[in-house]
């Protein structure tokens, strides 16, 4: 097992630790620090990042808590579809969902802070609904409160809310993290006055070539996030409620109203995207789909973007990133399962990319592999490598949880029945790993297909992936570019949703047996 520990340890050092150290070292330049911190625009960006994330989080929680309680309490037809649909939207490529939101919102609302908040809410409702629905509902305590004279409202405010609050806080922390470090949504829907730190990091590194300044901003972002997470971690402590809720039938069709409303809210941007792909020149048109793979503005005049090339680049990236993430993640989990406590650093190292942002991951890799024999910036595999680093927590987290759920005695039992140590491991831990690793592979592919943050820093001209091409097309004026961008977005959305639905189906099949 010592040999198995080498590749994941090396990978964590090369892809997480060294880039992180490099980022911090880059900020040690006093000129860069004062240049960034003295820039009025930076503080405007920090302020915007904070308040839009706070508003996005508050709205998501308020909109999501009611349908979440319905899902947590009742069984109804379409319940699994509702949860699965929200999850599929959560995994959608950011530029795709942002494009949909842009079509739905009218005129001046289609760009700027309000559009960004709407997109964040649509994205993150899955976080609130899934987290709250997974927490046990205190039905017995609610009944106890009613026999003590509490009205329905008093029960909700004095018993239910305080008891689901920890789940709400942990959902809120996650929503805040995603909204605060939002990149794709802000690139598509933002304007000059609405830009996040994440976008500013990209702008400095790529547009202005100011890598030190970008590094200072990245570190600033991580610090703010750490403060927020530490502050909210106190609120996330559970009150010791245990067990799973027993689902009861819906008391009446009216009680499904919040579920229907949220389903409509979440599907609107997707429907709009399809609609948008058939609109050009103010009317119905097939131009967007006819021009689907075209790289010309008109015969002989190049667009400078190659949709079909991007599609194949995306597919290749997805395959390579998935293989890389699953091999790296699988080895790491195997090592963690055997070493226990001493494998904790591997666990933490591979979870880190989830806590920092995709752009930070991209920037770290960019400044790490930029000199001597390690100057790999022009290599095609930098993009899938970045995707793999972003996706690896999605492979590792569920797999580690599955490994931890295997009782230690099981391996001993296998050994006393004559299994060699390796075989004992394989039939117990190995068996528990296969399912989460396969599901993790699907998620990694979906993440890679839609990845935009790290890609924006790592991709080279001529090797753009589909999300990059979609964003550029939507940024152009002209109806047929938009329709073409929407058509490409529809295809990308369909591909990622298909993957997520397949994973969900497969999981439920297995769980059902």
């Amino acid at each position: 097992m010592a040999a198995a520990a080498v590749p994941p340890s090396l990978a964590v050092v090369a892809l997480v630790v060294v880039p992180a150290v490099n980022l911090v070292v880059s900020t040690l330049d006093a000129g860069a620090v004062s240049g960034v911190l003295g820039d009025q625009r930076v503080w405007e960006v920090v302020w915007f990042s904070l308040w839009q994330a706070a508003v996005s989080t508050a709205v998501t929680v308020v909109v999501g808590v009611w349908p979440a309680m319905v899902v947590a309490r009742h069984r109804f037809r379409g319940r699994a579809v509702f949860i699965g649909g929200l999850t599929a939207v959560f995994v959608l490529p950011t530029v795709v969902l942002a494009a949909g939101v842009q079509v739905v919102l009218p005129g001046e609302w289609a760009r700027g802070a309000s559009a960004i908040v709407v997109a964040h809410v649509v994205f993150n409702l899955a976080v609130v609904v899934r987290t709250v629905a997974a927490a046990p509902v205190p039905v017995g305590l609610e009944e106890a409160a009613r026999t003590l004279g509490a009205s329905r409202l008093q029960v909700a405010l004095r018993v239910t809310l305080p008891l689901v609050a920890p789940a709400l806080w942990s959902a809120a922390a996650v929503v805040f993290l995603f909204s605060f470090t939002s990149f794709g949504v802000v690139r598509v829907l933002g304007d000059l006055s609405s830009s996040t730190i994440e976008v500013e990091v990209w702008r400095r590194a790529i547009r202005l070539g100011d890598v030190s300044g970008a590094a200072v901003l990245s570190v600033l972002q991580v610090v703010v996030l750490a403060v927020v997470l530490v502050v909210t971690s106190r609120m996330q402590r559970s009150r010791g409620l245990r067990g799973r809720s027993v689902l009861s039938p819906v008391p009446g069709a009216w009680s499904l109203a919040p579920v229907v409303a949220v389903a409509a809210l979440v599907s609107a941007p997707l429907v709009a995207l399809v609609w948008g792909s058939f609109r050009s020149g103010g009317g119905f048109s097939l131009d967007g789909w006819r021009a689907f793979g075209s790289d010309e503005i008109r015969p002989g005049l190049r667009l400078g973007l190659d949709p079909l090339g991007a599609l194949s680049a995306s597919l290749v990236s997805a395959v390579v990133a998935t293989v890389f993430a699953v091999v790296l993640g699988g080895l790491a989990v195997a090592v963690i399962s055997v070493t226990g406590r001493s494998g904790a650093w591997l666990d933490a190292g591979l979870a880190l990319p989830l806590g920092v942002s995709a752009v930070t991951v991209g920037l770290g890799l960019l400044i790490t592999f930029d000199s001597g024999v390690f100057d790999w910036r022009a290599s095609w595999w930098m993009v899938p490598l970045g995707h793999a680093v972003v996706a690896v927590p999605f492979v590792v987290r569920p797999a580690v949880a599955a490994v931890r759920s295997v009782p230690g005695d099981l391996r001993t039992a296998a050994a006393t029945l004559g299994a060699s140590p390796v075989r004992a491991w394989w039939v117990t831990v190995g068996a528990a790993l296969r399912r989460p690793l396969a599901a993790g592979a699907g998620l990694a592919a979906a993440v890679s297909l839609g990845e935009f943050g790290a890609t924006s820093l790592l991709s080279r001209s001529g090797s753009e992936t589909l999300p990059v091409v979609i964003e550029r097309m939507l940024a152009r004026t002209g109806g047929s570019f938009r329709a073409q961008g929407h058509a490409l977005a529809v295809v990308l959305a369909a591909a990622t949703m298909l993957i997520v639905v397949l994973i969900d189906r497969w999981r439920e099949d297995r769980v059902g047996r």
Partner: protein, 212 residues
């Protein structure tokens, strides 16, 4: 005073109570015993308004409450698994019903102290409920239900899960607490001996015309 008049209840399409009638005089403690799964808890839940009554009437102190919401029935309930609020300490649990009734702070505090003393837990007000022993948790649950002075107390196997020695001691204590407070009580249990120990009068399910 509690009157249950020809009450029928169905759960999930199955008839659980079929025309049950029963009355408990003011200040009386009546125990109903019978095997588990026979609908004892459902009877209490029907009286409390936690399940819908299909036909029949429930009267508390002569007032019909069959259609009234639970919080307007003036019933208190002690649950088998206590159901203490984990986000409140012992005193916070006991004062909950008083808060719902809009009782003022000072009066609330003295009533909480009074009932905690009655159940032998006078120094437990500040304790986290997760630190209580099984017997202490049962006492707190009883104190919580008695604090708002309900017209009728419903006790759903409240001594289940204790060891035999503690069970018997607590049964005697509870009996004297209920007597001292003059609380009209309907107590259900699977244990005939417990029923006879606690109650003024005990009734078998079968005598009530139940389809056990």
């Amino acid at each position: 005073m509690l009157t249950v008049d020809s009450v029928s209840v169905s759960l999930g399409g199955e008839r659980v109570l079929d025309g049950v009638s029963l009355s408990v005089a003011a200040g009386e403690v009546v125990a109903v015993f019978g095997p588990s799964g026979s609908g004892k808890s459902t009877l209490l839940r029907a009286v409390a308004g936690l399940v819908d009554v299909e036909s029949g009437r429930v009267l508390v102190d002569g007032v019909e409450v069959t259609e009234a919401p639970t919080h307007r029935r003036s019933v208190g309930m002690v649950f088998q698994d206590e159901q203490l609020f984990p986000h409140r300490d012992v005193a916070g649990n006991v004062s909950f019903g008083l808060e719902m009734a809009g009782v003022e702070r000072g009066e609330r505090d003295s009533r909480v102290a009074e009932v905690l003393t009655a159940v032998g837990l006078e120094d437990f007000g500040g304790r986290d409920v997760s630190t209580l022993s099984g017997g202490e948790a049962k006492r707190v649950a009883l104190a919580r239900s008695l604090a708002p002075r309900p017209a009728v107390l419903l006790a759903d196997e409240p001594l289940t899960g204790l060891d035999a020695d503690l069970h018997d001691r607590l049964a005697v204590e509870v009996r004297s607490v209920l007597r001292a407070s003059g609380t009209t009580t309907l107590w259900v249990t699977h244990d005939r001996a417990e029923a006879e120990l606690v109650a003024d009068r005990s009734v078998s399910l079968l005598d009530l015309g139940w389809r056990a």
